[in-house]
């Protein structure tokens, strides 16, 4: 018997009520994350990957709302929970880190305040014990002289250090799942690599599964076990990292891979995906990628169905680059 996944998202739909009517930011997204697994959630800006992350934490604010679907954390449906129940899970079993480390820590509160409140929100411990725990957590993410640093304000830290503090806070309670919303995008490349490997190590130690939201395929290649590619609020392809990156089925995935600079194609101009991501208010009928797709034809005006193939792979395309038969 296979163990129950830590997180299972089924047919999630998130809508935003705007002046121009209701926009569907997430349209029937399904995926799951196993215990200790790393799932890369890849897509361009506006593809809905960040909204998916926020929806898992129940942090979608009005005018947005989860319209339908379910989010099961260790078998419990988060979408049916009351806010108080959800609050007890946030920070404890479910954690999140954000893209810009310069803005995720409150600028007017000291680091120790922000760490200790995260501890005492879920544990009945003395202030002293909480402080000791906070100090150990800082030391663990590689912050030198953590005792002194606890009394500092966020602006006294560099960007990389702030992200480390955020990671330390997120992992304080050894959560079952950490949603990381592009936490390395705003950092220098060298710091990026350090943070990536540290999160990976820490998550493994704590047995924490990761949903790593990113637009950077090279990050996914180095970090994730499986990858889900999002486009205009839908997952268009999903599978193991090796399978998807080596043999992409969806033309969009292939386009993304083609636009990553590579040593093997030196001197050749980078290929680009023509056009831009469509506005959610003016989605083309059927496959949203069709207007930018070289393989599209009139049939692509219909909704492409989910096609499962190979080993635990799926795509949504009428004209996949890898056919089910070839992959099998």
């Amino acid at each position: 018997m296979t163990s129950q996944p830590i997180l299972e998202v089924r047919d999630l739909v998130v809508e935003f009520a705007t002046r121009d009517g209701v926009l569907t930011a997430i349209n029937g997204v399904s995926f799951h994350v196993d215990r200790g697994e790393v799932l890369g959630l890849v897509g361009e800006s506006g593809s809905g990957k960040s909204v998916t992350g926020l929806a898992i934490l129940g942090l979608i604010d009005a005018p947005g709302r989860i319209a339908s679907g379910s989010i099961l954390l260790e078998g419990e449906d988060l979408t049916r929970m009351r806010e108080a129940q959800l609050r007890r899970l946030r920070g404890k079993r479910l954690a999140m880190i954000f893209q810009d480390p310069m803005t995720t820590l409150n600028p007017v509160l000291r680091v120790d305040t922000q760490m200790i409140e995260a501890i005492t929100a879920h544990e009945k411990v003395s202030h002293k014990a909480a402080r000791a725990k906070a100090r150990d957590a800082l030391a663990k993410v590689g912050i030198p002289s953590p005792d002194e640093r606890l009394a500092s304000y966020p602006h006294q830290f560099s960007g990389g250090m702030r992200q480390r503090v955020a990671i330390a806070i997120a992992l304080l309670h050894r959560p079952a799942l950490l949603v990381a919303d592009e936490p390395t995008t705003a950092l220098d490349v060298t710091i990026q690599a350090q943070i990536l490997s540290e999160v990976q190590t820490l998550a493994q130690e704590a047995g924490t599964a990761l949903v790593w939201v990113t637009h950077d395929l090279s990050v996914v290649a180095g970090l994730a076990d499986r990858v889900a590619v999002m486009y205009a609020g839908r997952i268009v392809e999903q599978g193991s990292v090796a399978d998807v990156l080596e043999n992409p089925a969806h033309p969009y995935t292939a386009g993304l891979i083609g636009s990553v600079p590579s040593r093997n194609r030196r001197g050749v101009p980078l290929s680009q995906i023509p056009g831009m991501t469509p506005s959610l208010a003016k989605l083309p009928p059927g496959c949203a990628f069709a207007p930018r797709c070289a393989r599209a034809d009139a049939g692509c005006r219909n909704d492409p169905p989910v096609v499962a193939f190979g080993t635990a792979r799926m795509h949504r395309c009428f004209h996949p680059l890898v056919t089910a038969e070839a992959a099998a």
Binding site: L54, L57, L59, E83, R87, R88, L89, R90, G91, K92, A95, M96, I97, F98, Q99, D100, T103, T104, L105, N106, P107, V108, L109, Q114, E117, A118, A121, H122, Y153, H155, Q156, A166, I169, A170
Partner: protein, 323 residues
């Protein structure tokens, strides 16, 4: 921090010096006080005697030099009317005005911040819209008219509160205060409310704008992702960030409340500095006017300084970058 304070003190001294000159020259231009002080039957000789006694026969620069010299020794002249030192006259009235302004400030903050937070957190609710509509009234209705309406409603129609005066006072540290007696409080409430309404509207709008902006920040999202209670997120993470602009503006407004309580004090016949100023202007009592304006300038400068220091205390980024 020390360098910062010294630099600020230097700027403050400069402002006071410039204002002293402006005030003195402006008041000199208003009119000749002897015309009002001397009785209508007075002959030329008597008028000249008064003019000489008050030192008004000397050229402007000499009068100015004497004024600056005396001012540096803490003497802003004697009132022509009361024949008392002008500063002493004003200081006698200052506690009443100060009490009025502080009460108004407490009302403005105590009511304004909760309402503003509510309107900022629920911008599309009926309550939120009502609060904002109310704050527009607070802004746009003239202060004296609000005062008259308060008197009309609470004193004349309902008869709940007295219409004017200061009521019973008790002495604390030698200063008469009225907020410790029931009668004094009743007299204080209406004028303080009148003075507070505009500031309340201002605090509501500042708090609401701040709340709407801060609620969108990543650190609020992160605080919620940590599993903090709503009370802690709003009461600590959001409020502390909103307070920075609110404290700045209120500090400046406190100065204007003390200095320009004139209208409220006139409407409610409240015996404060403002009423003294109006009386002195109509009698062309130059030393009192000048002393009043100089004290106002000093109060403004001091409050500004204190606000900057409080600001540095709330916002660690200011504190360190100026060090």
């Amino acid at each position: 921090m020390l360098v910062y304070i010294i630099r600020r003190l230097g700027q403050s001294a400069l402002v006071i010096a410039v204002m002293a000159t402006l005030v003195f020259v402006a008041v000199y231009a208003v009119g000749n006080p002897v015309d009002i002080l001397a009785s209508p039957q007075a002959d030329q000789q008597e008028i000249e005697a008064i003019t000489r006694r008050l030192g008004l026969d000397r050229p402007l620069y000499e009068q100015y030099g004497l004024f600056v010299w005396n001012a540096l020794h803490g003497d802003l002249g004697r009132s022509f009317v009361y024949n008392e030192p002008a500063v002493q006259l004003i200081l006698k009235r200052l506690p009443a005005t100060f009490e009025l302004a502080m009460t108004a400030l407490v009302i403005a903050v105590g009511v304004g911040i909760p309402l503003g937070l509510y309107a900022g957190l629920k911008p599309n609710s009926l309550g939120g819209h009502s609060v904002m509509a109310g704050s527009i009234l607070g802004f746009s209705l003239p202060n004296f008219w609000q005062g008259l309406m308060l008197v009309l409603l609470f004193s004349v129609v309902l008869g709940w509160l007295p219409a004017g005066g200061r009521g019973q006072t008790v002495e604390i540290l030698g200063l008469p205060v009225s907020f410790l007696t029931v009668d004094g409080l009743q007299h204080l409430l209406l004028p303080a409310l009148n003075l507070a309404l505009y500031k309340m509207a201002l605090v509501i709008r500042l708090t609401r704008a701040g709340a709407r902006e801060v609620m969108l920040q990543d650190y609020v999202r992160f605080a919620r992702a940590k599993g903090l209670s709503q009370a802690r997120v709003i009461g600590v993470h959001v409020l502390k960030n909103i307070l920075i602009p609110v404290v700045t503006v209120l500090g400046l407004e406190l100065g204007s409340m003390i200095a320009f309580a004139v209208v409220t004090e006139t409407v409610f016949a409240y015996p404060g500095m403002g009423k003294l100023l109006i009386d002195s202007i109509s009698r062309l009592d130059r030393p009192v006017i000048v002393a009043y304006l100089m004290m106002t300038v000093v109060i403004f400068v001091v409050i500004n300084l204190v606000v900057d220091l409080i600001y540095a205390a709330i916002d660690p980024r200011v504190r360190l970058s100026e060090a």
